[in-house]
Symmetry: C2
């Protein structure tokens, strides 16, 4: 799956179905074509609309190709029904491009459930992975990895209810591989989210996963963390089941909404800076960064043999550009191979059976 250096990475970008229309996806793709290290983008969607949006942009046509799709899934449609009712939908077309080897990775702006389902229907789960997981970056107080990344990774934030110990171990391996590749973090600290730091705290699945992870060499396991550690960012990767991950992630969104009015006031921040109240100004700027985190790339779907990134519904051009670049980086550095290696490291423990 990992192309040699001689060939640029090709990303199929489903531009349809985002909350803000396709203009941002098209602009993000156009920008990429003029950068130093281009990515080959296959822009999938309604051709007349794509062409009209593209006409507004400066771009290098050598690096951008339109692929027409008659139809697309709307944000509020139910995944199973929508994918059946719309066999010509852009997400089908984009996922098929990857399946058939015309593209190396899938990036989607549309309906999350449909993206996950379309990918799961076509791509293979990696050995030992029972369930794919949706991961999300989120802002933390502490920085991560060699680049001082202000974001940590949490997974699953998707649909897993009642994750088994085996699932949680898989999530830990996948999150570790992704953080290593994307944040240039050679040994990301990975922890299980629980209601106490002791190995005996949590659900039976958490307790069993803790035991297995403590014996695995392929994961830099930091034990259990508590709710406190989520905003602090004490670790680089937080592992949890999808229900809890969903609640926690939406709660972080809610917290950022509460401070957004304050943090948005750019005039006030500038004024404070001039008055010498630098500490206060910086604090507010930091809050603002935290409220803007949805603009930084997308959520990877981990555990399949192809790279899949779900861009946030409200992504701007910069976020789409970032999502495509992240996908290309994951292909270049062989994310699937890294996960495979992590699941069966020499001399390490085997994943457990379900508790």
């Amino acid at each position: 799956m990992s192309p040699g250096l001689e060939r640029p990475v090709r990303v199929a970008l489903d531009a349809m179905g985002g909350d803000e229309g396709l203009a941002a996806a098209v602009e993000g793709a156009a920008r990429l074509t003029t950068e130093d290290r281009p990515v080959q983008v296959l822009l999938v969607g309604d051709e007349p609309q794509l062409s009209a949006a593209l006409a507004q942009q400066r771009y290098d046509p050598a690096w951008l190709q339109l692929v027409h799709a008659h139809d697309w899934v709307r944000q509020d449609e139910k995944p199973h029904e929508a994918l059946e009712r719309r066999p010509q939908a852009s997400i089908h077309v984009a996922a098929d491009l990857v399946k058939q080897g015309h593209a190396d990775a899938l990036v989607s702006a549309g309906n999350t459930g449909c993206t996950v389902l379309a990918a799961s229907q076509r791509f293979e789960r990696l050995p030992g992975i029972r369930r794919a997981a949706l991961a999300s970056v989120y802002p933390t107080e502490q920085r991560h990895g060699e680049r001082g990344d202000p974001f940590a990774l949490m997974l699953d934030v998707g649909a897993t209810l009642n994750a088994s110990a085996e699932d949680l171990v898989g999530f830990a391996v996948m999150g570790s591989a992704y953080a290593r590749i994307i944040s240039d973090n050679p040994a990301p600290r990975v922890a299980l989210l629980s209601n106490g730091t002791e190995p005996t705290k949590g659900t039976p699945a958490i307790i069993a996963a803790h035991q297995v992870l403590a014996g695995m060499r392929s994961v830099n396991f930091a034990g259990n963390v508590e709710g406190l550690d989520i905003p602090r960012g004490s670790v680089d990767v937080i592992v949890t089941e999808g229900f809890l991950g969903n609640v926690v992630l939406k709660m972080l969104e809610g917290v950022s909404e509460v401070v957004v009015d304050l943090a948005r006031d750019a005039y006030a921040r500038k004024f404070l800076y001039r008055m010498g109240l630098t500490m206060l100004s910086q604090g507010i700027r930091q809050l603002r960064t935290m409220t803007d985190w949805k603009q930084y790339g997308g959520a990877p779907l981990l555990g399949l043999d192809h790279v899949v990134i779900k861009a946030h519904g409200r992504s701007n051009a910069r976020a789409f550009r970032n999502a495509v670049k992240v996908a290309a980086k994951a292909v270049d550095r062989d994310l699937a191979g890294q996960i495979r290696a992590g699941m069966s490291p020499p001399g390490a423990g085997q994943p457990p059976s379900s508790p």
Copy 2:
């Protein structure tokens, strides 16, 4: 349990084992004796230490009585072992005062697990309540009830793993009764925390509890809420199982730690106010309020036939005063009777059996 107006409420306050020593508990109790509507406080702990601390305070001895206990549980001890090993511990003495009718309510500064266990060993569960729950107030953007209370209530934040539908329904009734009494909110809006607002979202227990609550007249049921709604405060009472409640609550603590340095800067806020940047100053003050929420009373243990409040380990004198006043209010307004009535309302649905 509810005394007539002729007799003041008597609260047994276990002053031992808090993170900050007993001085704050003693000062809080002393303050109460000089207020307009006094509460009879039975201050339980090591008599020499209590006397020494009390000598530093102005108080009315008619309203304050010392009850000696030879021993006390330390913060890091395991509840079961500690209660067995220390039969003379202050929490035993204080809970016995309530059990034997010498006091109407129990307030404890010590080890949370021991407080819950000592109370559960002595007091009866109310009819239909299978598990007691620890509830916590937390700060929200929106205000609640007639007094414009800036706090909402969440339960369970204690130890329940795998809460059944029956448990969740009980939590909803108990939370509703508590919010009605303490926040002067005649019909508090109660919701289940889930990963989507539709009645079909969540674990089997949540889905089943949703159905029952939708048919109960004694609860003003607002359906499911998501993580977003926690900091917003869209509802007055959020119902969840203890594992998730614990993670969410600790996460809120973590978020407030992240903004605390900014919000603490009183000089900066005053300066902003003078400069006319009122909006910004108010925003920061609001953040400060949110970071100080642990100082506002304590966490009630709900579902037993006596009022039990766990004061936060780091409570100051004002927080202890508030915790005792809240306990007295709950006794005065017959919290247990309100929960009993809510569990068997005329013409309403019965709690379901476990799914």
